[in-house]
């Protein structure tokens, strides 16, 4: 049966590096489980990076910017995340606030200091933990009939994480930050989501 409504989409602006892998998987599982399609630059291979990012922001309903790793890397500040936040802020302005922006950070003090110009946007603080991240996502996103809970999201995260080696082998990806494994992670999260929905229905039926 064809789907009645369009799936809303989110532009995800996060660091793509090994220390962030766990939170990356958490973002994919959490956002997918809350009914969203994720637009991320890593999903589009071999394109002009800036053009791709602008296109992705334009076709997204809102964006999430994780500024927890805006720090020095080999002596150079990591400007990519703030640049993409700037592009999204402009998008929000030209759409008169229709494109909404959410900021995630490791702690409140860091968020206030690193991006004082956007202090009007209340950041979600994840403390660098998966649980903190899932709680932040639940703070900003609501589903019809508001069902998915943080423990459910954490259970799905653990289930997907257990299967990472196999998913990675299947996609032939050396890193998690490649288009093929990113797509498979999305599908895996939805498989888990369906399992949860079925469990809930069975629970209600008893």
């Amino acid at each position: 049966m064809p789907r009645k409504s369009r799936v809303k989409s989110v532009f995800l602006n996060i660091p793509y590096d090994t220390p962030f892998e766990s939170l990356f998987v958490a973002y994919v599982v959490g956002l997918t489980q809350l009914g969203l399609h994720i637009n991320a630059a890593l999903a589009v291979a071999n394109q002009g990076r800036l053009e791709t990012i602008i296109d992705l922001i334009e076709k997204s309903d809102f964006s999430i910017h994780d500024l927890s790793r805006v720090e020095l890397s080999h002596g150079v500040p990591r400007f990519n995340m703030p640049v993409e936040l700037g592009l999204a802020l402009y998008r929000s302005r030209v759409t008169r606030g229709e494109h909404r922006i959410f900021i995630f950070d490791r702690n409140r003090r860091q968020a206030q200091r690193s991006t004082s110009d956007v202090n009007g946007i209340d950041p979600q603080i994840h403390n660098g933990t998966v649980k903190g991240l899932m709680s932040g996502l639940r703070n900003i996103l609501r589903q019809p009939r508001d069902m998915t809970t943080v423990p459910e999201m954490l259970a799905s995260f653990r289930a997907v994480q257990r299967k990472l080696p196999e998913l990675r082998r299947n996609a032939g990806s050396k890193s998690l930050f490649e288009p093929a494994i990113f797509q498979d992670l999305t599908l895996a999260s939805l498989v888990e989501s369906q399992r949860l929905i079925a469990q809930r229905r069975a629970g209600h039926a008893v």
Binding site: R3, K8, L34, H37, V160, E166, L187, Q194
Partner: protein, 66 residues
């Protein structure tokens, strides 16, 4: 912000332009049972075994100090 109902993997596969076989492959991976336990002991026995080992190590360390 209100989102939509969660799409099925097949619906998302279509949105992403993936073949139904790819969706099936991910479904198969997720439905397979997880890796078997490596220790071969039950959780209770494993905890007991590791506790005993650590106690022996502490005693050995104390003796070594004396």
């Amino acid at each position: 912000m209100i989102t939509n109902p969660v799409p099925t993997p097949e619906e998302m596969g279509e949105i992403l332009g993936l073949s139904p076989d790819r969706v099936k492959a991910v479904r198969a991976i997720m439905s397979r049972p997880g890796p078997a336990k490596t220790s071969g002991l039950s959780g209770k026995l494993f905890a007991k075994a590791t506790k005993k080992t650590s106690r022996v190590r502490r005693t050995a360390a104390k003796k070594a100090k004396k």
